[in-house]
Symmetry: none
Subunit: 400 residues, 2 copies
């Protein structure tokens, strides 16, 4: 459903919708047991829920496409991830809770090593410590450029965010990162006339940085990529007539939620913290996005057993979520992160929706095998919210 149709059909109401995102949910069979993480985990609550839900798999972006966290979430929020894309710089800023203003231009930065000829010999500067990163960023903050305010914010290890704030800035600037070692860092180049002034400012920043970093090997240079401005999207309140809240501990997910106009509620790192936050704010909102991160982290680390344990932790939260009596509860992931791949993957993501007015579809467990009987089949993740809206009685009829 595109946003124009959603805007046309959505209605306000009293019903409540909850989206529980188990990050990196989907998996692949363990080579020894032939069972996926979900099949290996003991998930009695999710299994019971599947029996009374409509089930299937979400396709976050398109068949074969591995989504980053950005598109994985925007799709679940009802925004077509091919149309509503987020620049790398903006995502990186969101990830450190940096509140970008509409006119700001943000870029992701890497400290790197260049050799005597000025060629990149290590794009990650030997993975310097986060402490060194903080220290280097403090040095770079001393740079002054006429007409713009500069922010150089450490992220982790060799990563930082550069933000330019001022009038007349543009994100029509190409990466300075050559994306391979043995090449020279590129000069910032405008990709459109509007970007010329900004490209000049960036080049001046890079020149100054080069001078400051000269003796700080292995971090003796920097690379910038993903120049971007905060997207100006219609809010979920405007499009879907929802009062949406995000309950996520990690800044990036809070940032993503804020891009669609959710209120990001402060919460602690544990799932119990999240549940408490939802409970305390239950009366104030009618849509809750609850984010659980640790399944993805375990998957990315290639730690099958830990991912299984984290899935069991997520499962244990289900009764408390159900106790709040959401009219519609969706459980899914933003993408799959099979531990055997130790990375995000393109595999469709397990999905269930427990709601009034569903037809039972005979799935007796919540895993990649049992859900194949689900009546939703594999469907675009962007359709999950409209479906939930329908079951919540929040979509009016189309056409007479």
């Amino acid at each position: 459903m595109d946003l124009d149709l959603a805007r046309q059909l959505s209605m306000t109401g009293e019903s409540k919708i909850m989206l529980f995102v188990i990050d990196g949910l989907g998996g692949l069979p363990h080579p020894e047991t032939g069972r996926t993480e979900l099949e290996s985990a003991s998930t009695p609550n999710l299994d019971a829920l599947a029996k009374e839900s409509v089930c299937g798999f979400t396709q976050p972006v398109a068949p074969g496409v591995t989504p980053g966290s950005g598109p994985g979430h925007t799709a679940l929020f009802g925004y077509d991830p091919m149309k509503y894309s987020i620049g790398r710089g903006v995502l990186e800023a969101a990830g450190i809770d940096f509140d970008l203003r509409p006119q700001d231009v943000a870029a992701r930065g890497n400290f790197c090593t260049v050799d005597g000829k000025g060629l990149v010999s290590d794009r990650r500067a030997g993975r310097i410590t986060s402490e060194t990163c903080v220290e280097l960023c403090e040095e770079l903050r001393k740079i002054r450029l006429e007409g713009v305010e500069l922010f150089v914010e450490p992220v982790r290890e060799y990563r930082f965010v550069l933000v330019l704030r001022g009038d007349g800035l543009s994100d029509a600037v190409a990466d300075t990162d050559p994306q391979r070692e043995g090449a020279e860092p590129l000069a910032a180049r405008a990709t459109a006339t509007a970007g010329e002034a900004t490209a000049r400012l960036v080049n001046r920043f890079v020149e100054e940085s080069k001078r400051i970093l000269r003796d700080r090997s292995p971090a003796n240079m920097l690379l910038l990529r993903g120049f971007a401005r905060r997207p100006d999207w219609p809010s979920m309140a405007e499009v879907f007539k929802l009062r949406p809240a995000a309950v996520a501990h990690y800044p990036m997910y809070r940032g993503l939620a804020k891009l669609v106009g959710m209120e990001a509620l402060p919460t602690g790192p544990a799932l119990d913290d999240s549940i408490g936050t939802v409970r305390e704010n239950w009366h104030r909102f009618d849509y809750f996005f609850v984010h659980y991160k640790y399944t993805d982290t375990a998957g990315e680390d290639g730690d099958f057993e830990r991912k299984v344990a984290k899935l069991e932790e997520a499962d244990a939260a289900i009764p408390s979520l159900l106790a709040l009596k959401p009219d519609v509860l969706m459980v899914t992931g933003d993408h799959s992160t099979p531990a055997v791949l130790a990375a995000h993957s393109w595999h469709p993501v397990p999905f269930l929706m427990r709601a009034p007015w569903t037809r039972a579809d005979g799935c007796d467990a919540f895993n990649e095998v049992a859900l194949q009987r689900g009546s939703l089949g594999t469907f675009p993740a962007v359709e999950a919210l409209p479906l939930a809206m329908a079951h919540a009685g929040r979509l009016t009829k189309y056409g007479a």
Copy 2:
């Protein structure tokens, strides 16, 4: 398949396609038995047909979207309902068999009650009788507006159709219906410059009506909405190279069929009448749309048992339809109307297609549970006709 591609690939031929629409076909489980209307009904003929058909569910518009009868049918006729939409006024005119001319502007009218302050106190004028409606329309027909011919046609109870006929009319006019009680009827307002003259005429009509209706409480005022002109769509003959006939008793479905260029054959109210009409005209056409209404009516009334009975009546017609030996027979609905909701719903609609060159998919009954094994899965309703065309040998190869 969009119409351009359909136009490019369609071929004339001798084969015959039949679409049997069981209106409001899909349902939901009865709270006591856990079985849907179709599961509760005895449908031996449809069950036998399912065993030798390709099966699945149609999605009339999009996931979560509840279709009106208009989009539900245009999709089955092969026209994307998001692109080929029909204004409320046109649908209402079709519903009373009023033959709109291309330049006419039609609107749906409600008689309503206004209080002493002129605020709407009942949008349906206490549901006056159809006889009163006829009488009031006769009064309103006396209104004369310069340069246009007026038609005020009773529909049922408080509903009527207003048609303006003349040169230079436009449907760029907003509703006068405030859509809620306690508000004043709105003045007709042009939504584009082209609509200004028409809006003035409408306002003059409303003023005159107000005067005529003043003492006719509870029907002492009227509201107009859905100003629309008859859409000028390419015909099924032109696009799909078919000679299409509609066999429907209810005027609205005859009207919908005429919008895509079908010939609407006169027929009686019973399903036997429809079968007779198809039989008599079998040689003249190669596409038959056969419409059965009463399942939807029962669903809308929330009468589970009656819907079950009407499904059994539809089932009993199958042998007579098969006896005509259509090359391709499709059985489906324009949308679901679960009796437990007493309304149209967003749920995908059971579908079967019996045709040569199909792969059996092991569905052993025609209901919402058994059809989940169908090889078509849930697919856009607009794809049903191209699929039938292919099986009827009426689509040529795409590309070399």
